[in-house]
Symmetry: C2
Subunit: 657 residues, 2 copies
């Protein structure tokens, strides 16, 4: 470093034509704190529309914000009504058999499936911001309620307590969903990545399908567990109990349902065939049983359904231990999963139709409909994908289609429940299997494998966890792997050497751009992540190794010895105190080896912290450049300080050396 | 988008002078997997020195790798021995009283403190790679062992079981430490950031000091809890039990110790004064008690210490439940904390003396010394900061100073233990307080507040958690806040608008560089983090808002309408499938608004994934540029397509418009 002092003045002279790196003006702590809070919780800036409005207008806008029906209601036309009527009746024909099936899946009385398709859709129609979401119960959450509550209370031995626990869990699920929305914590749902959901849904669908073997084979005893191994063991240990009548009926109906799905998929215009198919099978199955008296020959039927609308249930909540814990836990997990499905579905269809969904508002709407629902004998509802897709295909225009569906269900509850007396359970199983097969999205899994191996691991983690252990374990595995990936990104950031693109002042990764040239005497490193405590030790070791390797390489080829190390900080979004200590240590290491450390393009946050910690003074303000190009130019100017005019005539002097 | 088709050909024509963005050549899956495993677990490339060596040489290098004494032993000189002898005796004089004090802190027999300063230093001297680390027990881990084991077994009621549990916990701590090293998982220690350690140490020191009030005030009954409130309540509820003799003695010795510390700090040459002070107070205190028979007037003394070396203890391990869980848990937590301290201390002094410490090798050494130690009546040891600092100041040259200390302690164990019979406990308390006061590093906390508010929150979280709840809670709070920060960095990445620096083709944040100019008709956004599932929803909303705001601004000023949105991807280190879906959605949004989406400088990983997912085809290869400058130039060329010669003559045509 003997000549460092000598060339200092000329470097300063050179710098006059380079661009200075700005330290952002200091901001009062409170202001920057407020800004970052706003960015974290209000990225969509929901208060923007309230600016410069009169108080009464503000009140009305606020009301509209929470009740979007006030926004689209006044503009509602007869044309819209016609479309909504058709789609509403279509989804009602799907909602009735599906509702009954899913309630059975949750070990709840079948009538609850109908109750749950009456009150919640009405609430959602007022509060929801999606035009395509069709509200109803979902298979995965139903299964989860069944397995989680079943661990605490046996549904057949103590049906009343079990039912009340289901209402309580739904209440807490709604409370959680609404609070997440009100507290602007919607981003928690983002931690269920697309890959997680693909694997989770596939696993849950597998589990649900296997559960249906009970209904299809007419088994009386069945395991409480949901994992593949227990279920298969339970099925095959009772081969002598299989009922062929039930099995044949199930296979025939399943074939019919799958055929209608296949047909509707091939010709999207006939979407209503697959939408109507479940109700048709229910009617056909019921007729068949009624005419052949099959219920006396081993085909189980639904039996009596009570006539009448939802009885109130807010008096039934169980807030006493030890049941409270189970209810809260079940509510939390099923609530989050239902929320994730509802939001993802709403968002997808909004994307198609080019309108926007406010995630936090949706959460409040879904949460409220579950809180109100739990007070009127409904269990957990959300916006299931299959039903919403039918709604969308049927041409719904607004959330009014949910109102139409609710009215159709109300009509059923008041007058038509006796008709379901002879509906065979095996038909319900066939309906569930046919719906679930669509959720096993193996093509998406293949796509994940092709594009991103890590996402594939997340997806398979979720699938295997759900299918072989339990739904909660699968979810935890998938979220843990996803979060691990984020942490690994920060803990092991990519670092790479940059080279000069021929005939330019552009510096890029030598691996990505093999045509780049080395710059003699200068090692340019790019760090591709924020410098935080989690990676500062790693970066120190990795940087030392880069310098070692470069010196070894130069020694072996006998080239100019290494003089400068430039860090391209463009991708270093932030730095903490551990990171600054790391830079200080690297500065000492380079000093000791007689190398000069140079920084290129540190961002605003980084400059602010380097300034506050006095690292800028340690490294010297004249060794921080705005671009890698300028840093290299300055270093070169110093390396060839014997011909100081070079830099002004030519921006890549080493190409001519 | 009417004119998009028209200008396409000319854009392609322009591109001939722009630099193409490379998709890195496809790598076989196994190779890239192997590379990323190597980067994750072997960033320091420890096998590098084994390359191109004969098998016997490789074996010897491998032996040297695990036993660094084989490396420095042959080069050991008489000069080194002289230095190591002095420093070894100095640290022994500190180790003896500190060892006894800390063993009391862990509710263990005082003699264990001496045992623990005999065997482990010998092991470390062979295996450790630090030249300055002085091995011994530490206050924080001792306190933690006392409080965690005390929850399960009462040390006064069942001393034998308590002792055996302490050995078992030490064994598991060593096992964990050695395994972390062997499995190359040392980066787990990195998650204890500098800020966490400052807060944690300060809190632990506060707690330890308060615990000493028992000894200083000569109290017989004392709370088992470690939090400030319980301890103060325990102290002040027994005012009438306070012993003034004990209190006065403690205050005098503490004053003497602090004075010697202050003096040594002012004049570093006299470091030995503060190093010898503890032993001096022990001798003076013992003499005083012996002469005045103060032990009969309310001054508690150590009492009998058994003569002789460490008895074996590997037969005492407790592997039966319910004690096993407690032992494993205590071992894990204390092991990690002790490891973090040992590694941090080793690294700091290596930094001073310009040599390198291999973190994973250190872990194996510290782990082995604890495993072996636990078999010979030692409890948890590591490299305490205070003792290592004395070792360093005393001029130690190699780990041989640890051997000298071990021999001095052995001598004490064999012949001098009766001398400690009359040592008053209050002297031990004074020694602990004086050592702990140095650990409350309020200056570091102020520095954290100045440089990085978030790190300050982490630090205070650790401090308050440790001081007001418990040591484990404090640790969990600090690590949770630190990890939350990493997740928040990814979940809420910074996005900002770039502008053009006058008279250049450089584009930088308009906030950091207020002199930048807008580019008419073009919005340039920089995304400052990888695009992952955790931020893809946020980014979609934030980007929409940027576009909205820009269009509003342009509308209000009546400028050229927005035509292009350029994303600067320089800082986007990676992307996952959720991120790609987000880009696809943004592409649809921009298409709908009649805007053209342009990418600038996507990195290797990003290009690879965009290519595999066919997004490059969706956006069009001709809309991906190597630099923001080239992207802007191309967009401008198109915007002013009526005068197509502009770009060749002038690189910033909009400045002249």
């Amino acid at each position: 470093m003997g000549n460092a002092d000598y060339v200092y003045p000329s470097t300063n002279e050179y710098r006059q034509c380079a661009h200075p790196v700005a330290v952002p003006p200091p901001q009062p702590f409170f202001k920057s704190f407020k800004n970052s809070l706003k960015e974290t919780f209000f990225p969509d800036d929901p208060l923007r529309q309230f600016k410069n409005k009169t108080p009464s207008r503000k009140f009305f806008l606020g009301l509209q914000y929470f009740l979007p029906i006030l926004e689209w209601g006044p503009r509602y036309t007869f044309q819209f009504l016609k479309s909504d009527l058709i789609s509403g009746i279509t989804i009602a024909s799907l909602a009735i058999p599906q509702g009954i099936s899913y309630a059975k899946l949750a070990n709840l009385p079948p009538i609850l499936g109908l109750y749950s398709s009456f009150i919640p859709p009405l609430i959602y129609a007022m509060m929801g911001s999606s035009r395509d979401l069709a509200v109803g119960t979902v298979a995965v959450a139903s299964l989860l309620i069944g397995s989680m509550l079943g661990d605490e209370v046996n549904a057949t031995e103590n049906p009343a307590l079990y039912l009340h626990l289901a209402f309580t869990a739904t209440f807490f699920a709604g409370l959680l969903q609404a609070s997440l929305g009100l507290l602007r914590l919607g981003f928690i749902v983002d931690f269920l990545s697309h890959a997680t959901i693909v694997g989770f849904m596939g696993g849950a669908a597998t589990v649900v399908i296997l559960q249906q073997l009970k209904g299809i084979l007419g088994l009386q005893h069945f395991t409480q567990s949901t994992d593949i191994i227990s279920v298969l063991r339970s099925v095959f240990s009772q081969i002598h109990e299989w009922r062929w009548e039930s099995g044949v009926l199930g296979a025939v109906f399943l074939f019919f349902l799958l055929l209608s799905r296949y047909f509707s998929k091939k010709r999207p215009k006939f979407f209503w065939i697959s939408a109507m198919a479940p109700l048709t099978t229910v009617i056909l199955g019921s007729l068949l049983v009624y005419l052949t008296h099959a219920e006396k020959h081993g085909v189980d039927v639904i039996g009596n359904l009570k006539k009448g609308l939802n009885p109130p249930s807010f008096g039934d909540f169980v807030f006493t231990s030890p049941y409270l814990t189970t209810a809260v836990k079940t509510g939390m997990i099923t609530g989050i999963i239902a929320l994730a499905e509802g939001i993802a579905v709403g968002r997808s269809f909004a994307m198609f139709k080019h309108y926007n969904i406010d995630g936090n508002k949706e959460m409040v709407a879904i949460g409220t409909m579950n809180i109100v629902g739990s007070c009127f004998s409904c269990y957990l509802t959300t916006g299931p994908f299959s039903r919403s897709a039918v709604n969308f295909n049927a041409g719904c225009k607004t959330a009014m289609s949910n109102v139409v569906m609710a009215i159709a269900v109300m009509f059923t509850l008041l007058f038509l429940t006796p008709l379901f007396h002879y509906t065979p359970l095996v038909v319900l199983s066939a309906i569930i299997i046919s719906a679930m097969l669509g959720l096993i999205d193996y093509e998406a899994a293949i796509h994940l494998w092709k594009v991103d191996k890590f996402d594939f691991v997340v997806c398979m983690g979720a699938y295997i966890g759900v299918a072989f252990v339990s739904v909660e374990v699968g979810l935890v595995i998938a979220v843990a792997i996803s979060v691990l990936r984020l942490l690994l990104f920060v803990a092991r950031p990519k670092t790479f050497v940059l080279g000069n693109l021929p005939n330019s002042t552009i510096y890029r990764s030598v691996e990505q751009y093999p045509t780049t040239n080395d710059v003699p005497g200068i090692l340019i490193l790019q760090i591709d992540a924020p410098i935080y405590f989690a990676n500062s030790s790693y970066l120190r070791e990795r940087i030392s190794r880069w310098i070692d390797e470069e010196e070894d390489k130069l020694k072996s080829t006998g080239e100019t010895s290494l003089q400068y190390v430039i860090f391209n900080m463009s991708a270093v979004g932030n730095i903490d105190t551990s990171g600054i200590s790391m830079l200080e240590e690297v500065k000492k290491i380079t000093d000791r080896r007689g190398l000069k450390l140079v920084l290129a393009n540190p961002g605003a946050e980084v400059m602010k912290k380097l300034n506050k910690s006095k690292f800028i003074e340690t490294i010297g303000k004249e060794w921080i450049y705005l671009t890698v190009g300028e840093a290299v130019e300055a270093c070169n100017y110093k390396l060839h300080t014997c011909k100081p005019d070079a830099t002004n005539e030519d921006s890549q002097p080493w190409n001519n050396v």
